[in-house]
Symmetry: none
Subunit: 117 residues, 10 copies
């Protein structure tokens, strides 16, 4: 597996698809770029999901989050994008993605997206 | 006494000038304007002093802090300015002024000024 | 002993004047009146002293603090006044009086007075 | 040994008198009576000492503290009395006694006594 | 003033050079690149200084910290580099710079540099 | 509007009566008088309500709470009285009033009143 | 009203019997005697009730709790006794009494009694 | 009553059998012996029950818990045993027993047993 | 090495006797017996030392602390005894032993012993 | 650079040898083996040093700590060994190494080593 940023989310087969269980990630090292000003944004991304047939591979998730480093995108857009990409790759029974962004203009922003099969 | 913003710091005679004692103010409702961008800045101003012959009157201090609302000024300048105005009005035995500013550009700033007679 | 507000601080003989020891009071139920606006002020009064020949009687201290309920006085003045009255009544080896006042005009005030024989 | 309240502080020989070491008691179950009103007072008594030739036996200390249950005494007097009785019984190298009393008349009181041989 | 990353630290004249006072910045939005693996690193940068003739302008400090976003550098090197650049630009009476980095390889790293004129 | 204590609760029209929303006050500067002993009582008053057609004006609420300063009243009575006066003035969809009183006779008292239209 | 310990619980008419509301007491100054050993026990008594036609008067509650000072009684018995006496005196709509006792024999005991009309 | 360890749980008649109420014990001074290695084990035992006709006497509970000091028993066994012995002695309406054991082999163990009549 | 309680403190050669460094143990699983009543006592034992030529082996320390399980001893005596035995076995450059005992008779006791070569 | 466990500590030249500054590592993922029982031990290793001519490279430090995974060693020995290896590789102006080990036999151990050039 490469060690470059990539939008490719690799998966492995869920070892216990007959059972509902929860997987939880907290990634405090997320950065992208503001599409209005070109300046860097910072966030913690939290992902919580119940897998169906597939689980996301951890290193590929790191490279995926890294891939936004130079992209210009709104807080709301990127949080939905991460949710959409994970849904497409995993088709999970349930997923929740939260983007918890640093203060901009004196305002702290959180965006939370939820999807249920 | 008026109830309009004013740079005029009113004083009353120290009731016990023969004794060293400490007066402590915390004012979390301070706002001024960034001289670079014209956008509002917010801070908590903390003042600690040992009076000599004069004490600052509390309502006049409130109107004084209010008077910066529409002024454009750097964090470092306004903190020194408040210290200088209080030193000129009170000629205290000791004074410490701290400006504790909200995040701007992802950076939190504090400025602390101390003066001893 | 009466149960009315009174400026009279009653004392009893220090049971151990040959020894230095510390007595500590915290009185969160203090109220007086602002001399500028006539509106009520509230504070916690903290007293710490080393007695010499006399100790202040607790109930009389309560009635003494109560006696300020309808008096108009500045924060700085009343804190010094309490210290002065205790010094006159007790002639202590050491005393510290702190007035910790509630927010007025968006500003929180503390006044601390210390006296050593 | 009896199990009745008693002013008799029993001791046992310090097992290591050639060495300075510290013994620390915290007794939150102390009650006596207010000498002005006859009403019960409550306190935590804290004792810290460096023994010389004698240590106080724990059960006898319990019975000693219990012996104040029906006595009328000021906060300052009883704290000094406990210190004096321990000094007489133990002749310690160092002792500190603190009485930390519950609120009376809206005022919380602490008395702290220290003795060094 | 531009809004692009820049190694250029702009300054303004210290409004009170005749007085020693302290300026304090905390910047939790710092990212650079690991020189060994090319992967992103994240840190909080803390700066504390006593200005002499010059103060650093806040927006230019933000753009300066941003300028490391695509640079490969060791934790120790970048913390010293920030200290050196601020010393060259400001010639301060005192400065302390701390880089507080996120976990890498299961290890959390902090680097702290101090300089006194 | 006057600045004297007054039982008159002034109101203004609810700007959004078509919507349920909550208003929350915490007033730590409340004092009245014990009807048994004539001695002062102190409390924090907490008010939480969902307005219907009217909202209470803040300064008039302050003057209203001040109006109990010299009144003798039980803890239970005054807490219900405040609730009743607010219900009469506002006719709110929901209101909760809590009186959180200081220790008296070694006992801490809270009274909580709730009303639903 | 006397100032001696008394099992007599005085009441006053509930100022708002048409409404359900909650009254809450916390009394950390409770002591009684162990019926097995004759030694003192200590507890915090917590009372929470919804009055019907009568409220308990605070000073009489203090004298009532004081009246157990010299009585020998089990933890379970005294907690039920306090609940029973309050139920008989007040006939409340709801009452909960908790006795939270200090450690005895290395064991901490709590007893909680609830009654609903 | 003896003061030796004993499996005999003494009881006294429930003072209020007509009412459901809860009794709660926390005993942090429990020790027994590991049946595999013969080495000492330590635990906090928590007991919560609703008595029917009988209550357990506190000192006898202490002696009962002490009686395990030299017995070899598994964590699961001893927690169930305590529950069984209390059920046999008290026939309570409800009981919950929790054994909260110290770390063994890097693993912390809790065992919780519940019984309802 | 045996796994039975033993007063024998085994040592191993200090791997770095040319250097001062600190070793710190916290043992919350200590129990002995009260010499007055025969009942069990419980404590946390804390040991902090700077070795000279010898270090105490951890398992032998465990067996040593276990060896007090059936011994009757005062709090002060056992804390000094542990210090003395460690001093005799290790001849350390510095050692501090603290016994932090559970409540007995409503009193919590700590004993702290220090020795310097 | 390899990614296998290795006792080889790689270094890079100190970017600012003319200045004293502090580098701080916390590594909570350390495991080795007990030399007495062959069972795994776990610890957090904390390292704080002032470099002279060389700094330790972070990834090589990770591989170095990993290299103890299958080694049998006492707590005191491994903490000194890490200090010695870092001193030999870096020859730092100052270094402190702390091993903070998990509970073994009911005892928690910390070892702290300090070295100054």
């Amino acid at each position: 597996m490469a060690t470059k940023p990539s939008k490719n989310l690799e998966t492995f087969p869920n070892p216990n698809p007959e059972r509902d269980y929860e997987i939880n990630f907290e990634a405090p090292e997320f950065t992208c770029v503001c599409p209005m000003t070109g300046q860097p944004d910072f966030a913690t991304i939290r992902i919580r999901y119940v897998p169906d047939q597939k689980c996301v591979e951890l290193k590929s998730l790191k490279l995926y989050l890294w891939s936004f480093r130079d992209e210009g995108t709104f807080h709301e857009t990127v949080t939905n994008r991460i949710a959409d990409d994970l849904i497409r790759a995993l088709d999970p029974r349930f997923i929740e993605v939260e983007g918890d962004f640093f203060v901009r203009g004196g305002i702290k922003t959180k965006v939370k997206v939820e999807h249920r099969k």
